[in-house]
């Protein structure tokens, strides 16, 4: 009996010692031999897993392309890129833990972001604490850039820009029809969560700028599965523009009930049309919906690595199976890796202060769009675009510079 107990104790002690040794083993340095290792905690499981995997595919593709094209040149030497991943299980607390582990244990000095604003918000304080720069591609919340963070750089447009362009479009259409933008009536339905409220803030700013009237301002509950009362109101007050943001559940619910209640509004804009697959689910009734996008393969951006946006699109489809449409989440992740290559080469050093400075001086053109960071770290060189569902296809209609098609107005 005592023997067994003793054995057990010894076993436990040995186990603890082994773990301890693992932990104190020489940390994998950020640059080892000819490899620069970037680190990322990303969602391979849990509720963000779909987009987490898109993002990691984007990171991996860019790494592969950069390595094939000769790698990153620092101090006259070519380095290969690699990414060390941990699965954050879509939980912020775990993400923060893993970021700390990447930095402290694995010695990562250059971070890539996680997926979603929530996870980025959890990780940013950690990278900030250790003064480790992070280029992130998937956290759009504008609250990330109001904290005075110095080490976060985001390649994507922030959330308040998502639907603001629909207001500009409505104003333009009003003028074209000889009306004043001030006569435009806007109905708003936004989920009561940080992302959608950011989107709403941007919309409200632009509504004020144009002097438009807000006729409905509903906040949708988190577990939203019915918005028929909001739509009944829409039918009664007949707005010129209906703006909806509530992740994919909002888009799916709205699309279903707009169809069922035969809601006729000349312009309808909503986020997450693609994630909710509204076209395949609700068919013709979704024609005319405006959907914001960070990026579209039809845009005329290009760079030396991937070529044009269209070529990037083709590259993804030939590399990974199962992509009929390439999500922008994947494209912007690839762009984040390109930012790292560019900044490291310009810094021409692995000194963190120099690299951070190089990051903040970034001014580059990529297939994903132009990238230039504000002092707060968000990308100010790339606008959001609006795509409209036209005969079951998403075509860029706004801003005019990227438009491939005229906007259908009024819808249907």
């Amino acid at each position: 009996m005592t023997n067994i107990l003793l054995n057990k104790t010894v076993g436990i002690v040995a186990g603890v010692a082994a773990i301890g040794m693992l932990a104190s083993a020489p940390a994998m340095a950020k640059v080892e031999g000819d490899t620069i290792t970037l680190g990322s905690a990303i969602s391979f499981t849990g509720k963000y897993s779909t987009n987490g995997i898109h993002a990691s595919n984007g990171y991996n593709l860019a790494v592969r392309m950069i390595n094939a094209a000769g790698g990153v040149k620092v101090g006259g030497k070519s380095y290969k890129l690699a990414v060390k991943y941990y699965d954050d299980e879509s939980t912020p607390a775990r993400g923060a833990q893993l970021a700390e582990r990447l930095i402290k244990q694995d010695g990562i000095k250059f971070m890539l972001g996680p997926y979603s604003s929530g996870l980025t918000k959890a990780i940013a304080p950690v990278t900030e604490k250790f003064k480790i720069p992070m280029v992130e591609a998937e956290g759009a919340s504008r609250s990330l850039f109001t904290q005075g963070y110095k080490y976060i750089f985001a390649v994507l447009s922030t959330s308040e820009q998502y639907l603001a362009s629909s207001i500009a479009l409505a104003a333009e259409i009003a003028k074209k029809n000889g009306k004043k933008p001030g006569d435009v009536k806007v109905a708003m339905a936004f989920e009561n969560d940080p992302f959608s409220l950011d989107v709403r803030a941007g919309v409200v700013d632009d509504i004020k700028k144009h002097g438009m009237k807000i006729v409905i301002d509903d906040k949708l509950p988190r577990d939203l599965s019915d918005m028929s009362s909001t739509l009944t109101k829409v039918r009664a007050v007949k707005p010129d523009l209906l703006v909806i943001s509530g992740h994919s559940k909002g888009a799916a619910t709205a699309a279903r009930q707009i169809k069922e209640m035969k809601i006729k509004v000349p312009l309808i804009a909503m986020t997450h049309c693609e994630a909710a697959k509204v076209i395949s689910k609700f068919g013709d009734s979704t024609n005319g919906f405006l959907c914001p996008t960070q990026w579209s393969e039809t845009m005329s951006y290009k760079d030396n690595l991937f070529g044009t946006a269209g070529e990037f699109d083709a590259k993804v489809k030939s590399t990974y199976e199962g992509y009929r449409n390439v999500p922008y989440q994947l494209a912007q992740a690839a762009a984040a890796v390109m930012v790292w290559k560019d900044a490291l080469e310009r810094a021409n050093s692995f000194d963190i202060a120099k690299v951070r400075q190089a990051l903040s001086d970034t001014d580059m053109k990529t297939f994903y769009g132009n990238i230039k960071f504000s002092a707060a770290g968000n990308n100010i060189a790339k606008p959001m675009a609006l795509r409209q569902i036209q005969k079951g296809k998403l075509n860029v209609v706004f801003p005019a510079r990227w438009a491939t098609n005229e906007v259908d107005w009024p819808r249907k």
Binding site: T50, S225, S229, T232, R256
Partner: protein, 299 residues
């Protein structure tokens, strides 16, 4: 208050809200009836009620993936969920039937979490729908639109409730269930296998939830974590109507559906669920005050 004047200026809006509310309310009532059944017979307050509803919805969704019309999922969901309910009873619930309130609450809460996570693992976190493709009816010069599936679901929910009532009144098992709910000990003395009665009751409830879930998937949207709101609604209805009061459950269900619609129209959509929870609070206070001494039984 602009919204109230809208309602008075355009009376047809009231009709739309009322119809939407009543049609969905029937499904709430169905779920609540299942809850009352289990509550009354086994004294287990099933916090996983709404998650069983979601499971039914996902059965319908899975069948649409296989190219089968979601409507045909109704019998499939009933059978599968009955089996699932039986299994859950035999593995978990029978251990907590005669334990105190918190044990059964914890157990069913645990089941709810497991179900949510499993659904999330299998189907992912995005909302899903099952399209019935049954068309949309337009009435009152386009002032009132109702998708036909809602009407069908309404009558189906009522028919299902009727079937369950007949089963309880007429069948041997139904009588045994009622006997057990009145006095389990006496029923046991009379030779009723109460353990079997409990198992059947729990399985029957899961089947009812499954059917409700199929209807929900064709009307609203389903998502692994949306079950909780149905659990809360069911609790509100049962606490308002009482355990043994089927007409009360139906009326409370319909009323809750309509109240949600009007409430969210007038106060804004953000209050749709706040209304439900607020109502639960009010009912609990009133119940506490007029707490009656008479025993409640399933009829």
């Amino acid at each position: 208050m602009d919204n109230i004047s809208l309602l008075t200026m355009a009376p047809v809006l009231n009709v739309q809200l009322l119809v939407d509310g009543l049609l969905i309310g029937a499904i709430f009532a169905l779920v609540a009836y299942g809850l009352a059944l289990v509550w009354g017979v086994t004294n287990v307050k099933n916090l996983a009620q709404g998650d069983f509803v979601m499971m039914g919805g996902y059965i319908a969704y899975a069948m649409t993936l296989a190219g089968i019309h979601p409507f045909l999922a109704l019998p499939v969901a009933i059978v599968l969920m009955f089996a699932f309910g039986w299994l859950i009873y035999k593995t978990v619930i029978y251990r907590v039937v005669d334990k105190d309130l918190f044990t059964s609450l914890l157990a069913t809460f645990g089941i709810a979490i497991v179900v949510q996570q499993l659904l999330n693992l299998i189907f992912g976190p995005e909302v899903k729908i099952a399209e019935s493709g049954f068309g949309i009816g337009e009435y009152l010069d386009g002032g009132l639109t109702v998708s036909n599936i809602k009407v069908i679901a309404f009558f189906l929910a009522l028919a299902l409730a009727l079937v369950v009532v007949l089963f309880m009144k007429k069948s041997r098992m139904g009588q045994a269930i009622r006997a057990t709910s009145q006095n389990a000990r006496a029923a046991r003395i009379m030779g009723i296998d109460t353990d079997k009665v409990y198992a059947i009751t729990f399985a029957l409830n899961a089947a009812i939830c499954g059917a409700a879930g199929v209807l929900i998937s064709m009307i609203w949207v389903i998502q692994p974590y949306f079950g909780t709101s149905y659990s809360i609604r069911a609790f509100v209805i049962v606490t308002a109507a009482g355990l043994g009061n089927l007409p009360g459950v139906i009326m409370a269900g319909l009323g809750l559906g309509a109240l949600e619609q009007f409430g969210s129209f007038i106060l804004g959509a953000e209050f749709q669920q706040a209304i439900v929870v607020g109502l639960l609070l009010v009912i609990l206070v009133i119940r506490q005050i007029q707490q009656s001494r008479h025993r409640q039984v399933v009829k």
